[in-house]
Amino acid sequence: MQALTDGSRLMTESLVRSGADVFIGYPITPANNLYAYSKNRFKTFLAAPDEITTMQWMCGFSIAGHLPVTATSFPGFSLMMESINMAYMMELPMVIVLVQRLGPSTGTATCGAQGDLTLLEGMLSGGYNLPVLATSKANDCWTLAEKAVKTANKLRSPVVFLTSKEEMMTQFSFDLGLLEEISPVKRTFYSSDETYYPYKRDENAIPAFLPVSSNKHQVRITASTHNEQGILEGISEAALKNTLMISEKIEKNLGSYLDYELDEKEDAEILLVSWGVTANAVREAARELNNSGKTVSTFIPKTLLPLADVYVDIITKYKHIVFAEENHNSQLKKLIYGARVPSNVHCVNKIGRMIDPMEIIEEVKKHG
């Protein structure tokens, strides 16, 4: 069934079908479509008076056993940051959709960008990671939204779902018949009669969850450094271990939410790498190049953080690697290579507009 839609509509519908039950938000362009759709679609919708309140309410709802979602852009996200650290530390399931726009600061609200990846990498004090998933095409709004909800529940963690203005606001024709069935997340809460330890972990380092509605067990939720009972303990061995185990949980279970698209062509010596809104320009550039007899492979990571080892394995096989990102400093490249970028790594960067596939093709042509 062909329909005219936008990414926000697909994403909202998928989030709800996946089992997210509350949307809490504060308006900001370019996340407003998500806000508007959510108002009609979520079981519960709350308009918060600001983004700090948004995140705190979300944490409250999560503590009460709900699975909340919000959508914002950098100015709002930056206000949420301390509370997202809190949600990480408390280990509260929720999804935060970050719709990138041109920064710094309030920047240009109506212009897209891919400028917030390195921010996400460094946003937790101590350098820990949250799962970050990123849309790269229309269908991702559907499948990754489900993955975001289910990962948040499974890992008992906030998940950042990264996207951008054009991905959320551009309208496009789309065959709704292609959308896969989504089953709602099954939430299981701690049910044993034995004493409940809110941060005692299973073999996957994931602690069982119990909302504060429990009539049976005491639930302690804490943002400060705490032991497995949820008791603030300063730098005791047990408390520091718990802090490390939260990050262990995110890293260890990466396999369960790892997602990327790899189109490898035999004999290709050049790999095009991108994510988010520029992924389609890369796909189009590759289609043109491959049609014209110049073979290139493409690699589109969708799970951006934590970075998977396999990404490095994929990339290092190639003679030339071309990164295309709508930012000024190739943030994915920066995450992968740090300060020392090998000379066979090349970049196409633009700010203020989408990267044209022609610009990627021109860069490729420079390298054989």
């Binding site: 329909a3 679609r41 519960t44 600001d50 409250g60 509370s83 809190m86 603030l232 507009r353």
Partner: protein, 424 residues
């Protein structure tokens, strides 16, 4: 009386700290109300008062500095259960940085009780003044004393809609006052005045709390006591899918298009540019084409330019921008100033439709200059221009555009409808 709620002693406060009075009286108050520890959620802020959570047998949530009221609001709304009591312990410091949350919770009437431990300074960080520090009150970092009065949170919360508000001092047994506040539905607030022995007493030797309150006009009294407007969380059982069959666009025409057409429409905000663009791509879909529409506009939607990039293609569209459009349609002055550079870059294979009232920029493109605005009116100039463009290019049936136009609100404009049916 045995403790049921405080299970870890000694309490973590300096000798003589009012926070101890509040905690011990809370134990008593909860017992008086015959609450079960599992029916109470104690949310604590960051500050000396906040490290109490480990002493309590209730559910406990220890959050950020200043955010406990918002966090408690979320828990209360999330539980949405009048049998569960959400209590927030916050300091005057937390109430200062998180004032918005207090006003907001009062305003919304969240079911909870906020207990402000007002010792008129930041205890945990070494005795700096807060916005609650009364005139003349000294602290270690403010030896000259506060220059003006502090916030009257009781007055503010009452004004914002709190159901029950009272100010008391942390002297003796205050369990009756706490029990009264805890038993209220909706939002209740108790401001409890204290002097911090470690910083407040030392900086203000000989000062008596009661005297200070009297001088500062901080009366011990009930500020609000009214029928609660208790918050109820909206929870709809069924909402309708965003992907209903109403979205379906049936293909009932054929297009001759063999490669994508990229279009750039530029006009003025409020002149129906986006709506016209959407009609055009809907017609494309009716003709079996794939389409994208990317909008560009300033943040204020009612002024300045409004532009739309369209792609119509027989095949899947990946990249949805059109930096080198095949066709540009410019319907207004604002539209021209936004699109001028692009117009100038068009080559001889490109097409420009432009309103004839506009000064024509230098361009190699084939130009069609017609009185769109004059004939159809400013608000309909873009859709009218699109009719002209389709009439000339013919890449999809005119009937497709006429059909979507006929089903749209715009066709309610009689003049435009007649113009369209007469010409095309």
């Amino acid at each position: 009386m045995d403790n049921q709620f405080i299970i870890n002693e000694p309490l973590p406060f300096c000798k003589g700290c009012g926070h101890t009075v509040v905690s011990k009286s809370t134990e008593k108050a909860l017992q008086k109300l015959q609450l079960n520890p599992r029916d109470v959620v104690l949310v604590t802020d960051i500050g000396c008062h906040g490290i109490i959570d480990k002493a309590f047998a209730t559910h406990t949530v220890h959050g950020l500095h200043g955010r406990s009221v918002a966090l408690g609001s979320g828990i209360s709304a999330g539980l949405d259960n009048p049998d569960k009591k959400v209590i927030v312990f916050v300091g005057d410091g937390g109430a200062t940085i998180g004032m918005q949350h207090l006003i907001d919770a009062s305003h919304n009437g969240f079911n909870m009780t906020v207990v402000i431990h007002n010792n008129m300074l930041y205890g945990m960080t070494g005795g700096q003044p807060s916005e609650f520090t009364p005139e003349g009150f000294k602290t270690p970092t403010l030896p000259e004393g506060a220059q003006h009065a502090g916030y009257d949170i009781c007055a503010l919360a009452s004004e914002a809609g709190a159901a029950y508000v009272k100010r008391i001092s942390a002297i003796g047994d205050i369990s009756d006052e706490l029990a009264e506040a805890f038993s209220r539905k909706g939002f209740s607030l108790l401001e409890i005045m204290e002097i911090c022995p470690s910083y407040g007493v030392k900086s203000n030797p000989g000062l008596k709390l009661k005297q200070l309150m009297k001088n500062a006009g901080l009366d011990e009294k009930v500020y609000a006591d009214k029928e609660p407007r208790a918050y109820k969380t909206e929870e709809r059982s069924e909402t309708s899918s965003l992907l209903s069959s109403k979205l379906k666009i049936e293909k009932n025409y054929d297009s001759k298009l063999s490669k994508p057409i990229r279009m750039f429409l530029s006009g003025s905000a409020g002149e129906g540019v986006q709506a016209a663009a959407e009609l055009f791509i809907r017609a494309g879909m009716k003709s079996g084409l794939q389409v994208t529409k990317k909008g560009s506009y300033p943040v204020t939607v009612g002024v300045g330019f409004s532009a739309s990039h369209l792609i119509l293609s027989p095949d899947e569209i990946l990249y949805s921008d059109s930096p080198q459009p095949d066709v540009m349609i410019v319907s207004s002055k604002d539209g021209l100033s936004f699109a001028r550079k692009q117009v100038e870059k068009l080559d001889e294979n490109k097409l420009l439709f432009i309103d004839d009232s506009l000064e024509l920029p230098e361009t190699k493109a084939k130009v069609v200059s017609l009185p769109f605005r004059e004939e159809a009116g400013a608000r309909n100039a873009m859709i009218y221009a699109l009719f002209h463009y389709l009439n000339q290019s013919g890449f999809m049936p005119m009937e497709a555009l006429k059909e979507v136009f006929g089903n749209s609100k715009i066709s309610g404009n009689k003049k435009l409808s007649e113009l369209v049916s007469g010409k095309f």
